[in-house]
C-alpha cells in the first residue's frame, strides 16, 4: 500500500466517523432545535477538519462546501441566539451536507474523484450565512463586521497601553532611551527593505505582520506599505512586495539577519536611506498591536505568579482578537474531547483482516477436532495425547471467543441511523414521532450488523408510513398526538432479539385473512387461523400489493423482502399486533453467523448437527409411549405435555435409519416457543462446528432444504448438515 492509498483510507475513515458523530449530535438535539455553544464549536471543528483534509487531497468541491458551512458556524459561534426557524434551516443544511459528504466520501472509497455538484448546497449555505450575518448585525450592539467571520480581521486589541513600554524598553534599550520620538534622533539609521514571499505561501499579509512583530524592539520608528496589516492585503503584498521603512540605531547586519529568518522568503532588498525624508509614509511608534499582545506571553515570570489572571487575559485576548468564543478548559466540559483523548487507546483494524482471522480460527477449530478425534490415534488411548488435545481445545475455544469479541460491535450506530430516518420521515409524512432506543449497547457481530440495517430501515419506514396514524386520527382515538416507535435490542441466548414496536393503529387481522384467502395463500378456514399465522401472511411474497397500502395499513409492503433478508441471516421474524394499540415486530438473529455449539446426531449413515441452544433434553424413546392419531401424526406426552414427534429418517428420506421407536433416541428441541421431539438413531457427542453456507449443488439435491441452516465439515472430514430447529418446530407439515 503506498502513501496515497493509506491517506485515502485515513481520510475516509476519519471523516466518516466525524460525520456520524455530527449527525448523531444534531438528531439528539432535534427536540430543542438548537445547539449549545460547545456543540457549535464541535460542528465548526468537524467542518474545519473536513475542509483541511479535503484541501490536502485536492478535493476542491468538498473543501469549498465545508468551508462555507464552517463560515456559517463561525457566525453562530459569535451569536448563537438565532430564531427557531433559522435553526431548522441550519439543521437541514448540515444534515443535507452530511449526506452529501457521505456519498462523496463513498466515491473516494471506491477510488473515484468526489466530483458531486455542490452548487445547490453551497448556495444554500451562502444564503444562510448572509441571513445570519444580518441577524448578527441587528442583534449585536457592538460594531462587529458581519462578513464571514473566518476572514474577519481582529478588532484592535484592548489592553494596549500598560505593558507596551516596559517590554520595549527591556528588549531594545538603545533606541528607547533615545528622546524626542518625533524628531530624527541622533545616531539613527534609516533602512528600506522590500520583501517578496515565495509564490503560493498564502496569507502574505499575516506574514508581513509577522515580520513587523519579529522586528519588535529593534526599531524606534517604523512604517510599511501596505500600512494596515490587520486587514487582508495579500494581493498588494504579492504584487508589490512588502515595503518596510525602519528607523533604528542598530547596524544593518542585525536587521538583515532578522529579516532573513523569515519563512518563505523569496527575496530581500535592504538598503540604507540617507534620511527620513525619502520615506513616503509617516513613521510611527507604539501604535502597533504587537507589543501589547505579546507582552504577557513573553514574560513567563508574570505568568507563573498569577496564572489565573493570565489565563483570563489570554481568553479575553483570544475573544477580542479572533472573536473566538472562550473555551472551557476543564476536562469534563466536552465529552467529545474526552473521547478524543481516549481514542489513542483504540486501534482500528480493517475488517478484512478480522474476517481473515475469523476464517483461520474456523479452520483451526475444524483441524483441531480432526486431530483430536482422529480414529486411529484415538484407538491408541494415549493419556498424554488426550491431555494435550484437551488443552488445545481450551485454547482454541478461547482464541475463538477473543476473535468473536473483536468482531462484536454495539448496535448503537445502526440504531442511530434509524433516528435520522424517523427525523426525515416525520417531516415528510407529517407525523411527529418519537423514536425510543433501548439496549443500544447490545453487541452483535459486525457482519450481522451490516445486514441488519436494511430490514430495520424498512420496518421503521413501514411503521412511520402505515403503522402510525395521523395526528388527527390519534387525537380522535384518544392517543397522544406524538406517535412512538420503540427500537430495542437484547441478548437472548446466542441470539440477539430486536423489537420494532409502534403504538399505531395495529394490523387488521380479519382484512388480512380475507386478503390471504382471496389470493390463495391459505386454504384453511378463517376460524382455524391463529393471529400469529394471520400476521405472518404479510411476510409472504405476493401479499403486498398497492391496494394493500391503503386497505390493510400497508404492512405488506416490502415485508417479504425483510423476511427473506432476516432468514438469510439465520434469523426469524414474528409479528404481534393489537388493533388500535400498535404492532410489534420481533427479530431473532444469531449473534454470529460463524460458529455454534452443536450436538452431533446420527441417522443411518447421515450426520446432523442440532444447535445445543435449541436442545432441552434428550432421552431414550422407550421410556415414553408413542401416540399415533388417525392421520398418522405421532406425538408423545412428557410430564403431561404433548409433543409432536419428528422422525428425521422420514423427514430427510434416510433409508438406513432406525425405524423401531423403542430403539432410537429422542431429542426435545425448542425454538421461539415452539417445540418438538426429534427422533434420531443415536447421539454422537457435543462439538463446536463452523457453519458453512450450503453449497448450491447440495442444496438442490437435498429434500427439505429449508429445515437446514447450513453445513459443517467435521473432524474426520465428513460433512454434517445443521438443522434449523426454528423452521422444524414452526412448520405445520406432515412428514
Amino acid at each position: 500500500m503506498n502513501d496515497n492509498d493509506s491517506m485515502i483510507e485515513v481520510y475516509v475513515y476519519e471523516n466518516l466517523q466525524l460525520l456520524e458523530q455530527l449527525e448523531e449530535m444534531l438528531l439528539d438535539n432535534k427536540k430543542e432545535m438548537s445547539l449549545t455553544r460547545q456543540q457549535i464549536d464541535e460542528v465548526f471543528r468537524v467542518m474545519h477538519t473536513i475542509k483541511g483534509s479535503s484541501a490536502m487531497m485536492g478535493y476542491n468541491g468538498l473543501t469549498q462546501l465545508s468551508h462555507s458551512v464552517e463560515d456559517v458556524f463561525a457566525i453562530l459561534r459569535q451569536n448563537p441566539e438565532v430564531p427557531k426557524d433559522e435553526w431548522q434551516r441550519i439543521f437541514d443544511l448540515v444534515l443535507e451536507c452530511v449526506d452529501f459528504f457521505k456519498t462523496q466520501i463513498a466515491m473516494v472509497q471506491e477510488g473515484l474523484l468526489p466530483d458531486g455538484d455542490i452548487e445547490e448546497l453551497h448556495a444554500g449555505s451562502v444564503e444562510l450565512l448572509e441571513r445570519l450575518s444580518a441577524l448578527d448585525v441587528s442583534d449585536e450592539p457592538a460594531p462587529v463586521t458581519p462578513a464571514p467571520a473566518a476572514f474577519t480581521p481582529p478588532a484592535p486589541t484592548a489592553p494596549v497601553a500598560q505593558p507596551v513600554q516596559p517590554r520595549v524598553v527591556s528588549e531594545a534599550p538603545a533606541p528607547e532611551s533615545a528622546p524626542a520620538p518625533e524628531a530624527e534622533s541622533a545616531g539613527s539609521h534609516y533602512y528600506y527593505a522590500r520583501i517578496i514571499f515565495q509564490q503560493g505561501c498564502a496569507m502574505e499579509s499575516v506574514r508581513a505582520f509577522a515580520i513587523v512583530n519579529a522586528l519588535g524592539g529593534m526599531y524606534s520608528r517604523i512604517a510599511h506599505i501596505p500600512e494596515d496589516l490587520n486587514v487582508n492585503c495579500d494581493e498588494a503584498v504579492i504584487a508589490n512586495g512588502f515595503k518596510l521603512y525602519i528607523e533604528t540605531t542598530l547596524p544593518e547586519e542585525q536587521i538583515k539577519e532578522t529579516l532573513e529568518d523569515t519563512i518563505f522568503l523569496q527575496s530581500l532588498e535592504l538598503s540604507e536611506l540617507s534620511d527620513a525624508s525619502a520615506i513616503p509614509v509617516p513613521l510611527k511608534r507604539g501604535e502597533l498591536p504587537i507589543a501589547a499582545e505579546s507582552a504577557p506571553v513573553k514574560e513567563p515570570s508574570a505568568r507563573t505568579e498569577n496564572p489565573e489572571k493570565d489565563a483570563a487575559k489570554a481568553a479575553q485576548s483570544a475573544a477580542a482578537g479572533a472573536k473566538l468564543a472562550p473555551k472551557p478548559r476543564e476536562n469534563t466540559a466536552n465529552p467529545a474531547a474526552a473521547q478524543n483523548a481516549k481514542t489513542s487507546n483504540f486501534l482500528s483494524v480493517k475488517i478484512g483482516r478480522v474476517d481473515k482471522l475469523m476464517d483461520l480460527v474456523g479452520e483451526i477449530v475444524t483441524t483441531e477436532s480432526m486431530v483430536s478425534r482422529n480414529p486411529e490415534v484415538a484407538a491408541l488411548h494415549i493419556e498424554s495425547f488426550e491431555k494435550s488435545t484437551r488443552r488445545l481445545r481450551q485454547l482454541t475455544d478461547e482464541l475463538q471467543d477473543v476473535v468473536m469479541s473483536i468482531r462484536m460491535v454495539p448496535i448503537m450506530a445502526t440504531f442511530r441511523k434509524m433516528q435520522r430516518i424517523v427525523y426525515d420521515m416525520s417531516r415528510k409524512v407529517g407525523k411527529e414521532t418519537e423514536l425510543i432506543l433501548l439496549g443500544e449497547q447490545t453487541e452483535v457481530d459486525k457482519n450481522v450488523i451490516e445486514k441488519l440495517s436494511d430490514p430495520l430501515m424498512h420496518m421503521i419506514r413501514n411503521s412511520m408510513d402505515h403503522g402510525l396514524e395521523s395526528p388527527e386520527e390519534r387525537r380522535q382515538a384518544g392517543k397522544p398526538e406524538i406517535g412512538t416507535i420503540t427500537l430495542e435490542a437484547r441478548n437472548v441466548g446466542s441470539d440477539v432479539m430486536i423489537v420494532v414496536a409502534d403504538d399505531g393503529r395495529g394490523l387488521d387481522r380479519d382484512a388480512i385473512i380475507r386478503k390471504a384467502i382471496e389470493k390463495g395463500l391459505t386454504t384453511k378456514p378463517e376460524s382455524a387461523i391463529s393471529d400469529r399465522e394471520a400476521f405472518s401472511f404479510i411476510t409472504l411474497p405476493g401479499f403486498s400489493t398497492n391496494d394493500a397500502v391503503t386497505e390493510y395499513s400497508g404492512r405488506g409492503v416490502g415485508m417479504d423482502v425483510v423476511c427473506t433478508n432476516v432468514e438469510k441471516m439465520g434469523g426469524t421474524l414474528s409479528i404481534e399486533s393489537e388493533k388500535g394499540a400498535g404492532t410489534t415486530f420481533t427479530l431473532h438473529i444469531p449473534l454470529t453467523l460463524a460458529i455454534i455449539d452443536g450436538m452431533e446426531v446420527h441417522v443411518g449413515d447421515e450426520h446432523y448437527i442440532i444447535p445445543i441452544l435449541n436442545i432441552r433434553e434428550s432421552f431414550e424413546s422407550r421410556l415414553y409411549d408413542l401416540i399415533v392419531d388417525p392421520n398418522g401424526d405421532e406425538t408423545i406426552i412428557i410430564r403431561g405435555q404433548c409433543y409432536r414427534v419428528l422422525r428425521l429418517h422420514k423427514l430427510f428420506g434416510v433409508e438406513k435409519g432406525i425405524s423401531d421407536f423403542k430403539q432410537g433416541i429422542m431429542v426435545l428441541v425448542e425454538s421461539e416457543g415452539n417445540s418438538a421431539c426429534l427422533f434420531v438413531d443415536r447421539l454422537a457427542g457435543e462439538q463446536q462446528v463452523v457453519i458453512k453456507p450450503m453449497p448450491a449443488f447440495i442444496a438442490r439435491t437435498i429434500s427439505r432444504r429449508s429445515y437446514l441452516s447450513g453445513c459443517s465439515i467435521m473432524g474426520d472430514g465428513s460433512i454434517s448438515l445443521i438443522l434449523d430447529v426454528n423452521s422444524l418446530t414452526r412448520d405445520d407439515y406432515s412428514a
Partner: protein, 117 residues
C-alpha cells in the same frame, strides 16, 4: 536529527505531516490530538520543533502555544493553519509562533518552513 511533535486533532493531518517529515529526515518525537495533550507531551518529550494545529477541541492551538511558550520561551512552534484563520494566526504570531504554514500545503512547503527554524 531534529525531533518534531505533531499536534493536530485530525488523524489525517497528523499522518500527512508525519509521512512528509519522516521522508525528509526528521524524527517524530510524538503526536498529540489536542492542546492539552500537546502541552503534556511537550514537557515529556522536549521536542525541537512543534507543528501546531489551531482549531482543536478542549484547548486550542493558540492556548497551547501560549502555555508552552510560558514554560519555555525558546520553544520553536510553527502553526498549521487554514485559509480563513488569518486573525488567529496573527494571534499566534503575537504569542510567539515562529512561523506558520497554510493548509493545503505541499511537501516542499512544510519542509521549507521547518528548515528555516
Amino acid at each position: 536529527m531534529k525531533r518534531v511533535l505533531i499536534v493536530d486533532d485530525a488523524a489525517f493531518m497528523r499522518i500527512s505531516i508525519r509521512n512528509i517529515l519522516t521522508k525528509n529526515g526528521y524524527e517524530i518525537a510524538g503526536e498529540a490530538g489536542n492542546g492539552a495533550e500537546a502541552v503534556q507531551k511537550y514537557t515529556e518529550l522536549h521536542p525541537d520543533i512543534v507543528t501546531m494545529d489551531i482549531t482543536m477541541p478542549e484547548v486550542n492551538g493558540i492556548d497551547a502555544l501560549k502555555q508552552i511558550r510560558g514554560m519555555n520561551k525558546d520553544a520553536v512552534i510553527i502553526m498549521v493553519s487554514a485559509l480563513g484563520q488569518e486573525a488567529m494566526v496573527r494571534d499566534a504570531v503575537l504569542a510567539g509562533a515562529k512561523g506558520f504554514v497554510v493548509k493545503p500545503f505541499k511537501e516542499e512547503t512544510i519542509i521549507a518552513a521547518l528548515s528555516k527554524l
